[in-house]
């Protein structure tokens, strides 16, 4: 579900004009003078005044606590700085790190292209930009005042203590003086905001738009620029030595790739914009969507895993088999779509299905050998054969199924071959990825596998056929009745006992299967809610124009049902993303485990845990918040809740 546009899209024929944004902007009111605004919103009644005061104090106390915690002299942020690479990619070999950057680059380029191709040009009113800037400046100033004065450090670098063991702190004035750079940043931000606010009179302030995308790119550019200008410091662990160099900018191996990423983002966005409105636009969009769908597989198995391809085996086995499936399967499908084949076609399809199923029975019983790839191939062929009656008709129609089969089979055979080839990476631990990359991949694969399964289950549960209805309901209710952590323990420890002989899944793979099956049950319920919102009349209308059940489901019911279920679906996506942190409980080296267990047990950072946990929370928050924002955009665009 990398790019769920669901086929609905709008063009902005005005091109770069920003007036389009005005149409979608909510109706606005003239802004009030500050005093009046405060009176109206915060101090409108004695009760509201009390509420405002109480909650301001609570919020300030909370902020102060957080700042004192994060910037306390007791915090050892070196534990996070040195371990950044561990936290994101665990033991990925340093000399192969270019592969990680290529993967990030592919994702960045696809994001840029998608933004260019799809995103409507929108703008943020100057009034709001000014407000943000002033708020940011104000918050920084507030933080600088709230944070307690730093400790006076003694000759050994540790904070000095008085006779009672209390840490001796600077005077308030000295502390404020030391934070001059923060004051400066606050002043600049506030000044820019105030200048913008004053520079426009009210009406123009609200109706002059700063284009969103340049604003976002500009902000990202500022962040990237600080890598070159600000002394973030250089922290590393190379050749068993810890490197601490706080007085320099980030290492070249950090700032250069991110600069390239930033340029790539802008270039791909520009390319996407160029493609817009051209005759090729439709095809480009299909290509980008396909690339999104395939990219997790390609990135994981080909780019990152770097398989050691055994060409002899490829020529002797893999290629002939792929060709056999593509050509042979294509021929079978072409035959099955012959007009007037009638029931015979279905019988053959069911026969194929029985054969494919028998292969699996044989696999469990160990009766005869067959490459697992072939078993999957036959299963897919049987499923395609079941679809064949929908493609009967003239030659072009029939060939569409054949080409679809050929394409899908090529991709599947290629990916399975890659997945089956040993990795050439030399990592000390059994999994070649860990930390945040594992979190991401588990989340993404879970989404990819649970989405179709969930939709099928939802369709099954709303089906008129009792067998589908009962099975889907039983599955959904069973899964929803089991705690997720139980499912994970089961899959991590026991799945391999249920697999055919000689087939084995690593624990991360097994857990991904568990996550997918679990998420699918919840997804199915969300989708079912959407399906039920599709009115009776839609069914009757599609029956009236003579659509088959499959056509009605694919083209009438699902698009409308899925559109309605977007808010709960995104909620589901976010919670799945966060639930991957349960991997830590079953001992997989995911993002949380590294921060919570692995780093605190390094003798250099023994027991240093709070820093890592805070860092992990912030990263999780950034991702979950971005997803939530994206879903809000999507909802607005698809008009969920308005129609």
């Amino acid at each position: 579900m990398a790019d769920p546009h669901f086929g609905l899209e709008r063009h902005d024929p005005e091109g770069f004009s920003l007036t389009a944004a005005v149409d979608s902007a909510p109706p606005d009111e003239p802004s009030l003078p500050v005093g009046e605004w405060l009176r109206k919103n915060l101090f409108s009644s004695p009760f509201n005044t009390v509420l405002t005061l109480v909650f301001t104090v609570v919020a300030l106390a909370g902020l102060r606590g957080l700042l004192n915690f994060a910037f306390s002299e007791e915090r050892n942020w070196d534990a996070v700085r040195v371990n950044l690479r561990l936290l994101f990619t665990q033991a990925y070999p340093e000399d192969q790190y270019i592969r990680v950057w290529v993967s990030v680059g592919i994702v960045v380029a696809l994001s840029g292209l998608s933004l260019g191709l799809w995103a409507r040009l929108s703008g943020v009113p100057v009034a709001r930009v000014a407000m943000w800037s002033m708020t940011a400046g104000g918050l920084i100033a507030l933080g600088v005042v709230l944070r307690e004065p730093s400790a006076v450090s003694g000759p050994d670098g540790d904070p000095m203590r008085d006779a009672a063991g209390e840490v001796i702190r600077q005077s308030f004035g000295a502390a404020m003086g030391d934070r001059i750079w923060w004051w400066l940043a606050a002043a600049v931000l506030f000044g820019v905001g105030a200048g913008l606010w004053r520079g426009f009179e009210d009406e123009r302030r609200r109706h002059t738009y700063v284009p969103t995308i340049p604003l976002v790119f500009g902000s990202l550019g500022v962040v990237v620029a600080t890598l070159w200008l600000y002394r973030w410091g250089h922290y590393a662990f190379t050749g068993n030595e810890f490197v601490y160099e706080p007085d320099r900018t980030a290492a070249l191996s950090t700032k250069l790739p991110w600069t390239v990423m930033w340029l790539l983002l802008m270039a791909s966005w520009a390319a996407g914009r160029q493609g817009r409105g051209t005759p090729a636009e439709g095809r480009l969009k299909v290509l980008v969507n396909l690339a999104w769908l395939l990219s997790p597989f390609i990135l994981f198995w080909v780019v990152l895993r770097d398989p050691a391809i055994d060409w002899a085996h490829v020529w002797s086995t893999d290629l002939p088999m792929a060709a056999g499936f593509v050509i042979g399967g294509g021929a079978v499908l072409y035959g099955l779509t012959r007009p007037g084949i009638g029931e015979v076609g279905r019988v053959i399809a069911v026969g194929l299905l029985a054969f494919a199923g028998f292969n699996w029975v044989a696999a469990f019983a160990g009766w005869y050998p067959m490459l697992q790839k072939a078993r999957f191939g036959f299963l897919l062929l049987a499923l395609a054969a079941l679809l064949a009656p929908n493609f009967t008709g003239e030659r072009a129609q029939r060939l569409r199924l054949v080409w679809g089969w050929a394409g899908a089979m090529t991709v599947v055979q290629y990916l399975v071959t890659m997945a089956n080839t040993e990795s050439t990476l030399n990592t000390p631990t059994s999994e070649f990825l860990g930390g945040f990359s594992v979190t991401l991949f588990v989340a993404v694969f879970t989404l990819i596998f649970s989405f179709p399964l969930g939709v099928l289950l939802a369709l099954g549960r709303t089906s008129k056929l009792p067998i589908f209805r009962v099975l889907s309901t039983a599955y959904i209710e069973a899964m929803r009745g089991i705690p997720l952590i139980t499912v994970l323990f089961f899959f991590a420890n026991m799945l391999n006992l249920f697999l055919p002989q000689n087939m084995e899944l690593g624990s991360v793979a097994a857990v991904t299967v568990g996550f997918s099956l679990f998420a699918a049950a919840y997804l199915a319920e969300n989708v079912r809610g959407g399906l039920q919102a599709v009115g009776r009349s839609q069914y009757e209308a599609s029956d009236a124009v003579g659509l088959t059940t499959v056509q009605r489901t694919m083209f009438i019911v699902l698009p409308q049902g899925l559109r309605v279920s977007i808010p709960p679906l995104v909620g589901q996506v976010i919670s799945t993303f966060k639930e991957t942190s349960l991997l830590a409980v079953i001992g997989i080296f995911d993002f949380l485990f590294l921060a919570n267990r692995a780093i605190p047990s390094q003798s250099e950072f023994l027991g240093v845990k709070r820093e890592g946990l805070l860092f992990v929370s912030i990263v999780y928050w950034i991702f979950a918040f971005s997803m939530s924002k994206y879903s809000q955009r999507l909802e607005r665009r698809l008009g969920v809740g308005e129609r």
């Binding site: 002989q501 079953i586 080296f589």
Partner: protein, 379 residues
């Protein structure tokens, strides 16, 4: 209807051809082996699917490992000084080094180890399903694990035992005992044998204590530093590490009693009934101990091999009368162990020295120095 019959025939024929093609693919592989077909479904993730499931019970594990080319060694990955995950993802520590010892003995290459981080809960399952060949995961040798759980244990590499840590300012010293802790708030991590041991010990000593338990030992230590706990207790190796790294300037911590309140012999653990592999693991460990006794170290092993101090050392380093080839190893297997990883003392001092665990006077001293580290003779 003839057309449909033909079609059916074609479909059937194609199917048969495909099956033939698919099965044909297997012919290239060892015909005696089970079908090597192995794919992870599209869902599969990182594991290269060509792995085959091995049962360790009574099998030829040594041969399997030699064919595979790497040793799958189960470690904790989050145990201070025993197996720590370093910032570059590598494994470092006493247990990690003993994995390297076994790899050096089998392959002559200490780096031919594939570390598998395991939780305490899943470690034995991992051995039973063949996910790992060997556990080096601070596993205590107990009767139930040896018999009921179905493990076999190699020679103990580290004698640990539960101890207590308290503040000197509260009147505790090296010579304190469990009988001195009446009324104290004792903290440890929940659901472990540690909890049970201290409860038993205080009952036996006839003192009342308040036992508080926490989720993990980092939290226990934080509560000790803040004063919420008077005493904390866990394995001695853990306490020493904490004392070395986390003792604040204004506190003075002491560990007691000198004789621990529990026995925790830690060492290599593997599946039962595979003597060939067990022998290799055991003698690789013994080789590091014998080398320590004879003063053969990481630094001087080449000179020692060229000019061995006695016949036993000569045999161990691959000289005349060596017994390594009988075990299915290279003659210089143990020489490679010492050369690439070191003897027992090298390994101990490199990993446990920095956190403050000393050998002298402890059970982990050599037997000549009054400790328990002892190896049978190599002859």
């Amino acid at each position: 209807m003839t057309k449909t019959s033909i079609l059916r025939l074609v479909a059937a024929l194609l199917t048969v051809t495909l099956v033939a093609a698919a099965c044909g693919g297997d012919d290239g592989d060892d015909p005696a082996a089970e079908p090597v077909a192995t794919t992870t479904a599209a869902a599969a993730a990182p594991e290269p699917a060509t792995d085959t499931v091995e049962t360790t019970q009574g099998g030829d594990l040594l041969g399997t490992i030699q064919n595979r080319g790497t040793l799958n060694c189960g470690v904790s990955g989050a145990a201070v000084a025993f197996s720590m995950t370093q910032p570059d993802g590598s494994q470092q520590g006493f247990d990690a080094d003993y994995c390297r010892v076994v790899a050096a003995a089998i392959f002559g290459d200490a780096d031919a180890v594939n570390f598998v981080p395991l939780t305490a809960a899943e470690r034995f399952t991992a051995v039973q399903t063949g996910q790992v060949d060997l556990l080096m995961r601070n596993t205590t040798w107990t009767q139930s694990r040896d018999t009921d759980v179905g493990m076999d244990f190699g020679p103990t590499t580290y004698y640990d035992g539960q101890q207590l840590m308290a503040r000197v300012s509260d009147g505790y010293s090296n010579s304190s005992g469990v009988s001195d802790i009446a009324g104290a708030v004792v903290c440890t991590n929940a659901g472990t044998t540690t909890e049970k041991n201290i409860a038993d010990a205080s009952e036996a000593a006839g003192v009342d204590i308040t036992l508080n338990t926490f989720e993990d030992f980092d939290i226990v230590t934080d509560n000790f530093i803040s004063g919420a706990c008077d005493i904390i207790t866990t394995d001695g190796s853990g306490l020493v590490g904490r004392k070395a790294n986390q003792e604040p300037d204004d506190q003075d911590w002491v560990i007691f009693p000198a004789t621990p309140i529990s026995k925790e012999p830690l060492g290599p653990t593997y599946g039962q009934n595979d003597s060939a592999f067990a022998d290799v693991v055991n003698w690789a460990v013994y080789a590091t101990i014998i080398a320590d006794e004879k003063g053969i170290t990481l630094a001087n092993v080449d000179a020692m091999a060229a000019n061995p101090p006695d016949a036993e050392a000569g045999r161990l380093l691959g000289g005349e009368g060596e017994l390594q080839s009988v075990m299915g190893l290279d003659a210089d297997a143990f020489m490679q162990v010492i050369k690439q990883v070191g003897n027992y003392n090298d390994i101990y001092e490199r990993n446990l020295g920095p956190v403050g665990l000393t050998r002298e006077g402890s059970a982990n001293a050599g037997w000549q120095d009054g400790g328990l580290i002892y190896a049978p003779p190599a002859r």
